[in-house]
């Protein structure tokens, strides 16, 4: 395991050549700042709300890798004081789906910081997020000597065809896509890395019902008190050293956990699916995107009569998708 970790770090250092700094504001990072790391590709339309949302939670600095966007992402992010931007034209897939680039940036800039790793379509929800900033959470985690915080991905979707309502820049995606599956998740343990493997939700229900094993993994550990010796292995599902994956209790109790509302299914989705299928830069040969495209020409209605409408974190906690643990 140590070797695997070292390998990941070496890879990250090697892949760092591919990054070209466009705007480096990292000198502004204060010693106790909370950072956010993300890789984007043609997501400009999502960025205004994304940045606002996380600024509102109290993220102090954004470290963003732009994987060769052509929609003006770079121009948009230029000049924002709390954003540092790197550009790369290299293969997303060969950089382990962006993990290598981001591991490098964290190793270099996030040592000793709490860092949140999310995609532009993921919105981090944690207990009391409507009344307490993210620093309240990280202070509490520090106090409790917890180094990593789990937030399972919850796919949200609109009612009706996903291209029915167009998304505008700056809009809260949950206005269009507030629905989610509340109780069809399967949880298994991954003996190799000690993390849990969670699958389910609308993507498995609709696209992968007959091959459930291939359904996308939903377990994520996006918030970590980073150390330069740490490394993500695949996306933010798995970390090394393995102790960081112990975000669940095995003695019957509940540890505190959050959720990532995954707002992939907006009208922007179908264009993306077509592009990603030809790029083949996503996991398992973009099998996921193929499955989507095969379902009713990529315009599925994910909604069903048992879909739940998102209200707030308390609802997720009552449904058992996340937990306050002993944070009160």
């Amino acid at each position: 395991m140590r070797l695997r970790r070292k390998r990941r770090i070496i890879r990250a250092l090697r892949k760092s050549d591919e990054l070209r700094a466009v705007q480096n504001n990292t000198s502004r990072i204060g010693p106790a700042d909370i950072l956010l790391v993300s890789t984007v590709r043609n997501e400009k339309i999502r960025l205004p709300y994304f940045l606002n949302y996380y600024r509102g939670l109290g993220v102090n600095h954004f470290l963003i890798v732009d994987n060769d966007s052509t929609d003006g992402t770079e121009a948009y992010l230029r000049g924002q004081d709390d954003v540092s931007l790197w550009h790369t034209t290299s293969s997303y897939k060969r950089a382990t789906y962006g993990v290598d680039w981001m591991n490098y940036l964290k190793r270099k800039y996030a040592h000793g910081h709490w860092v949140l790793v999310v995609d532009p379509d993921e919105f981090f929800i944690y207990p009391f997020c409507d009344t307490r900033p993210i620093r309240a959470l990280t202070d509490w985690l520090d106090n409790s000597a917890i180094r990593s915080f789990s937030a399972m991905m919850i796919d949200v979707y609109p009612k009706g065809r996903i291209d029915e309502v167009p998304y505008h820049a700056g809009q809260n995606p949950l206005e269009i896509a507030p629905w989610f599956d509340s109780g069809n998740y399967s949880v298994k343990k991954n003996p190799t890395y000690g993390n849990l493997w969670i699958q389910g939700g609308p993507r498995r229900r609709v696209f992968f019902a007959d091959q459930p094993k291939k359904a996308p993994a939903l377990n994520k550990i996006p918030l970590v008190k980073w150390d330069r010796r740490y490394a993500y292995v695949s996306s933010t599902h798995t970390l090394l050293p393995r102790g960081l994956n112990q975000v669940y209790e095995t003695d019957g109790g509940e540890k505190a956990s959050g959720a990532l509302l995954h707002t992939k299914f907006l009208d922007t989705f179908s264009a993306k699916a077509v592009e990603e299928m030809t790029r083949k830069q996503h996991f398992a040969g973009s099998a996921e995107y193929k499955a989507y495209a095969n379902t009713q020409q990529g315009q599925p209605d994910l909604w069903c009569k048992w879909s739940e409408k998102y209200i707030n974190w308390r609802q997720l906690e009552i449904l058992g998708l996340m937990s306050k643990g002993n944070w009160a």
Binding site: G183, N184, S186, A209, N219
Partner: protein, 566 residues
Amino acid sequence: MSTVGIVMLVHTALDRAEQVVRHWTAGGCPVVLHVDGNVSLKSYRDFVAALADDPLVRFSQRHRCEWGTWGIVAASQSASELMLAEFADVRHLYLASGSCLPLRPVQELIDYLAARPRTDFIESATTADVPWTVGGLDAERFTLRFPFSWKKHRQLFDHYVELQRKLRMKRRVPTGLVPHMGSQWWCLTRQTLSAILQDPERAAYDRYFRKVWIPDESYYQTLVRQYSSNIESRSLTLSKFDFQGKPHIFYDDHLQLLRRSDCFVARKIWPHAERLYQAFLTDQAGAMKKTEPNPGKIDRIFAKAVERRTRGRPGLYMQSRMPRQGAENGITSNPYSMFQGFSELFGNFDSWLSQATGTRVHGHLFAPDRAELADGQMLINGALSDNAKTRDYNVEGFLTNLIWNTRGERQCFQFGPGDNQDVNWIVARDPNAQVSVISGAWAVPLFKSNRNFADLRKEAARLQRIESEHLKVLRSQHTKARVRIWTMAEFIEAPMEPIQTIVDEIGMSHQRRLGEAPTMVDLDGFGQFLQNLKNQGMHPYLMGDFPVEQGPVNMPKPPRKPYLVR
């Protein structure tokens, strides 16, 4: 000047501490500050300079404070001595920390203590009587030595404790002392505190407590028993602890809760809880307006948090709760019923049961082609799908999800040897499961079917093998479910009695006796069918003994009506 002096131990968030100090002095209370030796000299000097204009503030000699060690006691000793020496009017000394926040007007505290001039407020209980010790160290706190830091050198700490236990090393508690423990936040009278601090034996006591584990929770608590004439064993500081002995922290959203506390001071407050500081320090009239104290509510919230962290919600499996086998604290969240052989024997069993009990009755949930959800639905609560492949990918998860999703409504389902048997153990181990089996009833559909006898014979042998394995599981000593097993022969002798028992146990029925009975299928010729199987060399035994009951062929016999069980 007031008769209440505040001894404040500060180590972080000095700006907040300053705010609170000013609040106390504005109310007329002198404050002696102890700043942790770990605070940098620069921050310390800035802090001193910031408070230099306040005549009621003093700074005591600094000690290094680490949790669980003597430093904290030394700090409170120095600061208390300074307070006693500098402010002669002070009658009560209140020990607080920098993250404490006064919940009620200062004057109210002064009046309260003035009305009780001789009372010492300090939580103090003998070790045998306290439930809150962490790490199994209670009486041993006083009889072992603890030279190593628990936070920095955990291994050394643990090994040394272990070693002392093995060698049966024991320290003697100084004569006359009876170890007591309690919250470290006290409010003592000048008389009591000066007696403790000026005791001729103090050097010996200090030497002893220096090596006691967490002396700040026992030093004053023990010694106060020597001198105080009037101890009220409770803390005036609201302080809640979680399951690891760490204090819970209060945030802005606790404002309403804190208003209802009956304590004078609360800790710990999150330094960035702007609204709390705003409310309790500046807007006195508004925030501290009289609300009916309801400390029970605070208790409940924090007790529930501890419960959630240590026990969790029964039957929930999720990202941060994945109990290993045996530690589930409830395998499923609610009671449910599994029926085996009933729908084979009674044509309309599902609808009858649903009507008789008002529960949700599914077909064979674990059937090979799909999960037969009630009313032929393809999805059920929680968007759980009937897809067999998805279900079989994690079949135990399917069951626990189903029961969790339908909390509040009892679920019943059919089961049989033709279904996915991977669910057998989890059901058997689950005290929430009510399992009723009519063994051998799987033979009825075979008997009714129109298939080649060779195939039937093979199928019967297969089903019998599977069911007999299942019965072994249900009869195992590890089984915690409520299990009832009848052979089919036994059951049809008097079918209504067992059904009545089962339905009563489900407990939804409003009538005392069942009005309508399910219709049993026509079993005429079943005995012969079994005999035929036997004649083919297969031995059907799970259904019990059926008479062949084959009358003479030429004796005309009216076709019997289906059994109507009454």
